[in-house]
Symmetry: C2
Subunit: 326 residues, 2 copies
């Protein structure tokens, strides 16, 4: 849930005067997005999402995010399209914050994803990677493998209160990841946060992808590893290879992976688990309990990390072996 900023109607009407959206009819703060304030906006021109960027988002990154959404939407990926103002800009200022208006996407997150959802998500991610190839701007991943150790070291010295021995376990895993991380795989624009609440479905079909505020340039197969971590574990922590196979097949139906990407997949999954373990751990130990931010359990990703660390090879994710009619 996230509505941080109160927006007076007069300021909003003034902000909207720069757009061709007709008369302001209503706006309501919605419980969507964690980093920003979002409003459902209704005007004479239709229904839109208004986003105010709070301080956790770097202003310098906004042209990349908005440009990417525009590029993806214009090339056929269903995602929020930033509405251009009369002067051609997509970014304005409202209540002292950068702000933008987007098309509204119908659909809902799949709270209990099936293998069919996973296949659709894999295919959409591959389309995102393919279309992203033509996007000219670049943004380094601020949470890449090079950032994990500094992030770990910035955690308050109470990591072991989460679980005894956790500090040592993370330090050992980081060393293994730094040693084994593949550096020469195909790279490009990745979503980097394609969790279940960021993919909408309508009547069983994928209707759109939202929340591009972690998008960056990094290894394409690492995005896929994040997807497998987010979509293919059950609530009880068990790994569902049927879902994983569906997600990977969906992806490869659009963009077949290279053998070296498949080979590296287990370590990419370990890395993806480490990245979310560390950000959740940091928030767990630093965000006050009475904050409005709902803190996510770091142990969920610790368990996923342990699963990926003991995997014997890519076949355990459901990758087709030679001759399998995938």
């Amino acid at each position: 849930m996230a509505v941080y900023t109160d927006v007076p109607e007069t300021e909003l009407a003034e902000f909207l005067a720069a757009y061709d959206l007709g008369q302001l009819l209503s706006y309501k703060g919605i419980a969507e997005g964690v980093e920003n304030s979002n409003f459902l906006l209704r005007t004479g021109g239709g229904t839109f999402i208004l986003t105010l960027y709070e301080k956790r988002v770097n202003r310098d990154d906004l042209p990349f995010f908005l440009g990417l959404m525009q590029h993806l939407a214009e090339h056929g990926l269903s995602c929020p399209l930033p509405i251009q103002r009369k002067d051609g800009e997509a970014l304005g200022e409202l209540a002292g914050r950068p702000a933008a208006v987007f098309t509204f996407l119908e659909g809902m997150g799949a709270r209990r994803p099936t293998a069919s959802h996973c296949r659709a998500v894999g295919a959409a991610m591959a389309r995102l990677h393919a279309i992203g190839d033509g996007f000219s701007m670049r943004r380094a991943n601020a949470l890449s493998i090079d950032d994990w150790r500094p992030l770990f070291e910035s955690c308050p010295p109470k990591v072991d209160t989460v679980e005894e021995g956790l500090s040592n376990e993370i330090a050992g895993e980081l060393s293994a990841l730094e040693r084994d991380w593949p550096r020469d795989l195909p790279s490009g624009v990745i979503h980097a946060d394609l969790f279940t609440d960021n993919v909408f479905f309508l009547a069983g079909d994928l209707s759109g992808i939202i929340d591009f505020y972690f998008a960056c340039n990094d290894l394409l197969a690492y995005d896929l590893a994040i997807g497998v971590c987010a979509w293919c574990f059950e609530a009880d922590g068990s790994f569902n290879i049927t879902k994983s196979q569906s997600l990977l097949r969906g992806y490869q139906s659009v963009r077949p992976l290279e053998p070296r990407e498949i080979e590296a997949f287990p370590v990419l999954c370990r890395g993806a688990s480490m990245r979310f373990l560390l950000t959740r751990l940091y928030d767990w130990l630093t965000v006050p309990d009475d904050s409005f931010v709902t803190k996510k359990d770091p142990k969920e990703y610790l368990r996923k990390l342990r699963f990926h660390a003991q995997v014997s090879g890519p076949a355990e994710y459901g990758f087709a072996i030679e001759g399998d009619p995938a």
Copy 2:
């Protein structure tokens, strides 16, 4: 802000199957209402508000609230109309809670009300009172004058931490109110919570009234006193007689007050201030600081109470004297 209950899509789709609203397209928790969980719902049939009643609302009162909204809407007052299910019922159950679907009202609360807003609010309240006259159900006011002293006595014994001497001041005021309260004024259905966030405006015109979950049977002029308390004080605590006069004139343009209602108006305003002072005080002293409920400052209504207690007569609210062309 209030979204307390998470609603899985499958449960919502099942709930909506009892309605003729078409396919579920999307739903988003909105930051509206304090007592309940509200969602903006889009279906093939249009845009609606879905309300789940949380435990602060008594289930036995729901037929009164929903029946009243239906009665008012059908008689031309712009308020949310409960959508009937195929079986004719307005109330269903979702996620273990009573739940209902309402028409969506365009418009926005006036964050900086003007005299013109106040006049429109007065007129709409009088229409509500007039239309409510034909509504057959009854609900006693659970926060009437008879409830104030028990509510005060149920506050934790730290009232004076809010302000020194506050206990004695409230006890004295309660005695005065119990002595002077008018018992024989015209009564009927009142909104009882017509604050600025419960009245929507569109292009300067009043477009609707929401949040009927304090509605009850009580003195009509007491509702007007609540309105004057809510709309006619400035942010610095000063009373704005221009706004008060506009609100009263708007009301009387539809339903002229009787002389005894005007005579009693100062004591009704003292009572209205006491009612909100006491509920805010109780919440202030009992709701934990880390709760998601935003606690409102009881002192705002203490200051209003003191204003009304020193008023010399109805003229100070801007009531027209004989011969004034109001």
